[in-house]
Symmetry: C2
Subunit: 396 residues, 2 copies
């Protein structure tokens, strides 16, 4: 997921067309690693062949996908593929859950905030939405955009005093920006939880157990790399909550693009087919093996560069057993959460070296942190490492 | 456009599988003409052949469509086709306008409300959003859904007292529900107008001049019948307003599905190709001739039934010259706005005859009015007319 400012920030960037020279002569072109535009799996989708989706002119004219479903705009084929991939990977319980499709998981966060806060509403007393710092920077923007009387941003969950009042806590696990595995921190008597599990896939971290929460959000963007489709889904235990989420999406966008849903179904089907254990001879390369290899290789190269300097570092990741890959693994998060020496404005430092990152301040942390996307294209990632390697030398 | 309740209402309906019998023995299956699900052009899209769009697995991964465009998530091909169709039909000025694409025009209404009200905002003094009754029933739902402090529903524009305060007036022309050609009615000193032109196409009414307003909203749904795509667009004069609309869509859904945009571009291209005056021998039937014929035929049949009864009527439409078709024409609105005798609960009366309509109360009018969709499939429309013809007999 990316936020408005991530996107806006990126408008100042340009494609990398330079010769890659680094060192004392700073390159002229900014590498934008502020937003998390997931183009790192493009080669996979190119090399496995066509796997295209074709939609005829007369298809999917209606607003409706399935009038008998609670989520009447959810394409049955997508519903089937969502259930199938979760059952295959084992990262979330889908039985007895209502699936609500959204225009990306951003829309589903808003749908969930509406669904949870509307029944609690007291005039002029909006419900606080909190998340433990460092938290995903878009939560605050989403919660405060329309200055709703239903809910408002309540800041860092670590310092939130629930006082027996209802509140909503966003639990992001693995976390954006730092990749940490998380649990709720407020633990008040009237807390309602939204679990944002955008990164709970085996290429980013070990799948240790199927997630089993009341509201679980997933998105295609970071999972398969298809951010342009704008497809997310929620697994919702309570029927009334699911109905209110559907109501929000009805009023907000009258459903979700059928074309995007049909393509997402196709994409999930391809991935499932690539890694079924009962079909080891599949002609398509296992998506998770490929994507994990890409992430692991990037992280190893990043750590090699980072350990040669004394200005910044990234935290180590614990080793865990992944039930899906059946091996011990460390995490390879979608973002590097980098700490500079105390007192250093890390975003500014990197910007001087033509690397656009996002300051820790945006995530409720200090300026000595930055978040760096690990998801850009290969050429940009290579150049980023080259430039990063020069920072320490210059600063010494 | 349909609203949440239109959609929810329709969930009680079923496909028509009966033998069409009418009269004293009321059919068991409800015909749902409450919502405006535009499936009436399905036959056109089937008979002109494939005209499909194919999207490869590796296409459109990024959030971005064009980083140099103010609306960075707008596909260049769609932008080109939007300009082309407006220039061809002559229903809106596109020169020197910013095009903002939305997930249907519902999202664009919210984007415009945000863009216009945010700079005006005074704490606890939301800007009133008004529209002249009968108004599109979704406006109120959209304006009040999140109980925003930026804007609120202000009701019927005819009875709104602007008192030198800023307000936003929705001007829907041709109007939903009654098809009337409209101008603003408040005319206060600080009014800001949003023109909703979803039905300003030659199959619904005469195109008398290119619309030339500050904010003009269009949608694919009612124009081509592709409601499932969720594609709308705004033509916006002021750059700062367009930027704020883009910001809303960034936070709300991080852009608009690329698949839907690519298909919409394809759809508009097919329509443009079908009716270029310099290619009269096109192999594809002229879309506007076909669609206008469908609507005219339905309206003529409806008027024939209506004139034989004394319980309800529909207003006559004025004859106007259409610059696009180069002929005098009456309007063939997407909805029939039907008036029953004073004191009759018109929705209830029709419901007794297994016709689900939407009460005038939802549009800020009385219960003696109903809105009836003219856009359903042929089989449902035929059955509707059969049932309608029996109402008068029973009531006499």
């Amino acid at each position: 997921m990316v936020s408005q400012c991530q996107i806006l920030g990126s408008k100042n960037s340009q494609s990398v067309h330079e010769n890659g020279s680094t060192g004392k002569h700073h390159p002229q072109v900014l590498i934008n690693l502020d937003h998390g535009d997931p183009t790192m799996y493009e080669e996979y989708w190119k090399k496995i062949g066509d796997h295209s989706v074709t939609i005829a002119g007369y298809q999917s004219l209606s607003y409706f996908s399935n009038k008998t479903n609670l989520c009447w705009f959810l394409e049955p084929k997508l519903e089937e593929e969502i259930k199938s991939i979760h059952n295959l990977v084992g990262n979330a319980i889908v039985e007895d859950r209502h699936i609500v499709v959204g225009t990306g998981s951003s829309q589903l966060i808003q749908a969930a905030l509406y669904a949870l806060s509307d029944p609690l509403n007291e005039p002029d007393h909006p419900v606080s939405v909190v998340s433990a710092a460092p938290y995903y920077s878009a939560y605050q923007e989403i919660a405060d955009l329309l200055r709703s009387r239903l809910y408002k941003w309540g800041g860092d969950a670590n310092s939130f005093d629930a006082k027996d009042e209802p509140y909503i806590e966003m639990v992001t696990s693995p976390n954006n920006p730092d990749g940490a595995v998380r649990k709720p921190v407020v633990n008040g008597t009237k807390g309602i939880l939204i679990h944002d599990l955008a990164y709970y896939w085996p290429h980013y971290d070990a799948v240790t157990a199927p997630a089993d929460h009341d509201i679980m959000l997933f998105t295609l963007s970071k999972f398969t790399g298809h951010a342009g489709s704008r497809i997310g889904w929620a697994l919702v235990r309570d029927k009334e909550v699911a109905k209110k989420m559907v109501k929000f999406i009805e009023v907000n966008t009258i459903g979700v693009s059928k074309e995007a849903q049909l393509r997402a179904a196709n994409t999930l089907h391809t991935i499932s087919g690539s890694c079924r254990k009962d079909k080891p001879d599949s002609e398509i390369e296992n998506f998770f093996k490929y994507s994990k290899h890409v992430m692991a290789e990037r992280w190893n190269r990043l750590r090699d560069v980072v350990k040669k300097n004394e200005l910044f570092y990234v935290a180590k990741s614990p080793i865990q057993y992944c039930n899906f890959t059946r091996e011990l693994t460390e995490a390879y998060p979608a973002f590097a959460w980098m700490k500079c020496k105390d007192g250093v404005d890390c975003e500014k430092l990197f910007k001087e070296h033509k690397i656009q990152t996002r300051s820790g301040r945006r995530f409720g942390s200090g300026q000595d942190y930055v978040r760096i996307s690990m998801l850009n294209g290969n050429e940009e990632f290579d150049l980023f490492l080259q430039r990063l390697a020069t920072i320490n030398n210059i600063s010494k």
